[in-house]
Amino acid sequence: MTILEIVAFTLIKIVIILSLMLFTVSYLVYFERRVSAWIQNRLGPNRVGWQGILQPFADVFKLLLKEDIVPEKANKKLHAIAPIIALFVAFSTYAVIPFGPELQIFNYKIPLVVADVNIGILFVLALTSLGVYAITFAGWSSGSKYSLLGGIRSSAQMISYEISMGFSIGGVLLFAESLRPIAIVESQSGWMWNAIVQPIGFITFLVSAFAETNRLPFDLPEAEPELVGGFHTEYSSMKFAAFFLAEYANMIIAAGLIVTLYLGGWQIPYIDKLGLPSLVETLLQVGAFVFKLIAVLFFFLWIRWSLPRFRYDQLMNIGWKVMFPLSLLNIIWVAILIMIFN
């Protein structure tokens, strides 16, 4: 393909994925509120449109028309840069997550991933490690005690769980023999899903993903009773919306990563035995990816409204004393498995 064609296809893919992501984020918030209401025997938002279906749009317009208040003690520049970093990280990590096999249209073979690069899955890791800055800067620049404490707690939490996340990915790479997400998905053909082959790694990755996205039971940074709003106490209007958006976008990315790394990605076991036409097969597999993604997202919501929050010392203990050794053991376990069966 020429450079122009690459650019054109990339732009098309980005536009489709970005608009789908924005749509999913807004309805994820709506569903979270409805599901939580259902779990707690309440009604939840049901006034805007049929069953409150237009609620996300009302929320966006409300936030858009609010005044953007910057506290006088804040460092103005950093206060604005922090939400930009958060959004930047959340809306660029999708680039390496494959959502389907190769699509064949006319004479083009289009891989259904925005960027199929050699460093693949490390791209996600690099960007999430930059995501820490959004929270640290937000906490520090606001000039408020609650923000600073929330920010510093949150960044310590994120860097602690990044280690066990990194180790868990190592176990996946042992099987895939490549960093390319497509190769990782293809290494889990049939029922050889990593969630089944290396359950310890799956659990450590899942827990780390919850901690990295600041979801309950790890949402210490915004523990309302003690820290008011955590690192975004002093944020309002669209800057607040940016953090909110980034949090839910990160959830989608995390779910996409879990599906790609551990649940066989887009693959449906033994679908090639059915002898379907290739286009139908491709579409079915994209559907399978979306289905798995939604299932994992529902799991995220379900956990949030079922478990209580950890204390901060418990959280750090789980990260360093439980998840760290477990994820390391997982690597050795997978290496031994490979040595036995090869």
């Binding site: 460092n75 950093l78 050699n118 460093i119 890791l125 690099a126 490690s129 930059l130 620049s141």
Partner: protein, 171 residues
Amino acid sequence: MSLELILSIVFGGICAVTALLVITRINPVISALFLVVNFASLAGLYLILNAQFIAIAQIIVYAGAIMVFFLFVIMLLNPESEKKFFSHKPYIKIFTVVIVAIVFVQIIYMIFLAQPSEELIKESAKSVNAGTIEQIGRELFTNYVLPFEAAGYLLLAATIGALVIAKKKFE
């Protein structure tokens, strides 16, 4: 112009500008932010040189891990006291100027006067595919096992060192 050339001008430009901003900003947290951008554009330059794994490791380790530590230290100590530190000790400034001048001369010499050795040119032709993670893994665990194990001991020493320094504070 080739794509590589355009990109190296872009990344090199960002690199130079952010490096200047790092040393001219008064607020150390802003400096740290520009240093992160600087590391990221350096990773871009590595990428153009085909060192893909080094590029991403640069971001994960330098921009991601080491700068977080720097930021913790900068943000949570009082930056005001550092200002006093520099204004009261003029000999530190002289010392800094001398060091920087030596490094500057060295860089100028390396770029404009030194000739790369024949062997280096021969080796660099071979290194076109050396930057992928597969090649690095292969080299590291066949030809360079000993340096790799030595790195392990270095990290062990760093762990113990960090604890010993901090121990006085929390005991």
